[in-house]
């Protein structure tokens, strides 16, 4: 479905929304109104974004939204169900607190991409800045480039995959999120340690790379896995299945 996005935009059914002409509130109200409605208007293209904040935030419908240009704060925040593709770079907090669905950034992402995300998939084809996946709670994040310092700080669950390098203090005060990094890690944060890559991790990573549009770009065997040493918080093995 993701690969088909570009082709589908050629179809007559594409709804084009000029953000500069009609404004942010009209955009988000229009997209919110499609929740639970039987509609043909599922493919959207947003133009003239000019770095605006809060584009396509709080969607809750299986829409296919392409944002042409660079976005400001919180694009795709709180997303449910929708596939949002940013054909440019994303400002701070892209896909913040995403619940489900997919957000794809063709360029780079600024600070705290995917912060506190509960579910869904965030794909960043360029680099992500500092605090990528901070406090993530179930989201999967695949970064084709590198990530900045303090990424996955207090990350609770979900998977962070980095094809490039990680900055300082990766996974500081980590809970049960899984971190996979192919390149170098500048330093590990408190209570974050390298862990063994077992067969189930290879399988998981293979699936994440495929879903993260990085199939063929990297091989699971090239990655190292990092996780919590579980010395900073009270880990109960009885709860292991809930992460």
């Amino acid at each position: 479905m993701l690969h088909a996005t570009a082709n589908r935009l050629d179809a007559e059914s594409v709804q084009t929304f000029d953000l500069a002409a009609r404004g942010l509130r009209a955009l988000n109200e229009t997209l919110h109104a499609l929740k639970g409605q039987p509609t043909n208007q599922t493919v959207w293209e947003i133009v003239n974004t000019k770095g605006a904040h809060a584009i396509a935030v709080g969607l809750d419908a299986p829409l296919d939204v392409t944002v042409r240009g660079t976005t400001g704060y919180y694009c795709g925040g709180m997303n449910k169900q929708a596939t949002i593709r940013i054909d440019g770079s994303a400002g701070p907090g892209v896909a913040e607190n995403m619940m489900s669905g997919t957000v794809i950034v063709e360029g780079d992402a600024s600070q705290y991409a995917g912060a506190t995300g509960r579910g869904g998939l965030l794909v960043i084809k360029g680099n992500a800045s500092s605090r990528c996946g901070i406090s993530m709670k179930g989201i999967d994040i695949v970064v084709h480039g590198s990530i900045g310092h303090m990424s996955a700080f207090m990350a609770q669950s979900g998977n962070l995959v980095v094809l490039g390098d990680a900055g300082d203090s990766l996974g500081d005060s980590l809970y049960e999120a899984r971190l996979f990094v192919r390149g170098s890690v500048k330093s590990l944060g408190a209570d974050c340690v390298e862990k063994e890559m077992r067969p189930e991790h290879h399988a998981l990573l293979e699936d994440l790379l495929r879903r993260g549009l990085a199939e063929g770009k990297a091989d699971p065997s090239q990655f190292r896995r990092y996780g919590s040493a579980r010395r900073l918080y009270t880990f109960h093995v009885d709860n292991a299945s809930s992460y």
Partner: protein
């Protein structure tokens, strides 16, 4: 929050439009800080001439006859151009320091915003749009400039507390963030002979750089020192007569985006500040790394 913009031109053909571009960038950043706004513009200047930009709470009384009074004190040709609450005083370059002292004695109510060969600083309480209009920033030409819109945290909302701060000839600094050791650093700088106009944390950062450069450090070296000696949150953008620098603290939570083309280097707290710049679609756009000094000099 606070919003910062900066523009360092490489292509002289853009120089007539510097004020216009910078004002537009700053107005876009209005919702990052509505308390006060300020702009530093570096013009080409005239050989042998120096400029003081001064500000008054009572411009009519303070600026009346100021050029005449100054001529009597320091001699030479003295020019005076009044712009709303500010005025630009032009004197012979070698009499700039004397003129500054004379202004202090002649009009104790005046505040010196900047001094140098190229720099002019305009700042006031209010929205960027209004501040830019009052001083006709859009009509100003120049080689580089820095703008700031303030959301005050560390000191009062006053004209003197607005950015940019200038603490040395042709130097200025703007800041997004807050410093936690500014009182201690200020005490040290005072002992070293630096003079302060406010209790503002950012003025300390500006004076720190001025002091280091006075001691002989280059712009880059002086900026490196901020990472060692200043504690707190900061994204600084710094201007000198021929230079432009950017540095962020190691935590780097204050946003910063830069763009570079063959024509300019631009800085914005957000990308949207730069969307109106020529050729931005093809610019190299990046976020400055934490604890890393970037600077350009011509």
């Amino acid at each position: 929050m606070c919003g910062i913009v900066g523009l360092f031109l490489k292509d002289a053909r853009l120089e007539p439009h510097l004020g216009e571009m910078l004002a537009d960038m700053l107005i876009t950043m209005t919702d990052r800080g509505p308390d006060s706004a300020g702009i530093a513009i570096y013009g080409r200047g005239q050989a042998g001439r120096g400029k003081l930009t001064v500000q008054s709470a009572d411009p009519e009384a303070d600026f009346a006859g100021l050029d005449r009074d100054l001529r009597a004190e320091v001699g030479g040709h003295v020019g005076l151009e009044v712009k709303d609450t500010h005025a630009v005083i032009e004197v012979e370059a070698d009499r700039l320091a004397a003129a500054r002292e004379a202004v202090r004695a002649l009009r104790p109510g005046l505040k010196v915003m900047s001094a140098g060969e190229g720099i002019e600083i305009y700042k006031e309480v209010g929205l960027p749009r209004d501040v830019a209009a009052r001083f006709e920033i859009a009509r100003m030409a120049g080689t580089h400039g820095i703008g700031h819109t303030r959301m005050a945290t560390e000191s009062a909302v006053t004209t003197a507390g607005a950015h940019p701060f200038s603490t040395g000839a042709d130097q200025c600094l703007v800041h997004n963030g807050s410093l936690s050791n500014h009182n201690a650093v200020r005490r040290g700088l005072r002992r070293a002979g630096m003079r302060f106009e406010t209790e503002n944390d950012t003025e300390v950062a500006a004076a720190y750089l001025s002091h280091r450069m006075e001691e002989g450090a280059g712009l880059g070296e002086a900026m490196e020192g901020t990472l060692r000696d200043l504690d707190g949150f900061f994204t600084f953008v710094v201007g000198t007569r021929n230079g432009f620098g950017v540095v962020r603290d190691p935590i780097a939570c204050k946003p910063a985006v830069m763009a570079e083309t063959d024509q300019y280097v631009a800085f914005g707290s957000e990308y949207r500040a730069m969307v109106g710049l020529p050729g931005i679609e093809a610019a190299r756009v990046w976020e400055p790394e934490p604890a890393t000094v970037y600077f350009w000099e011509r």
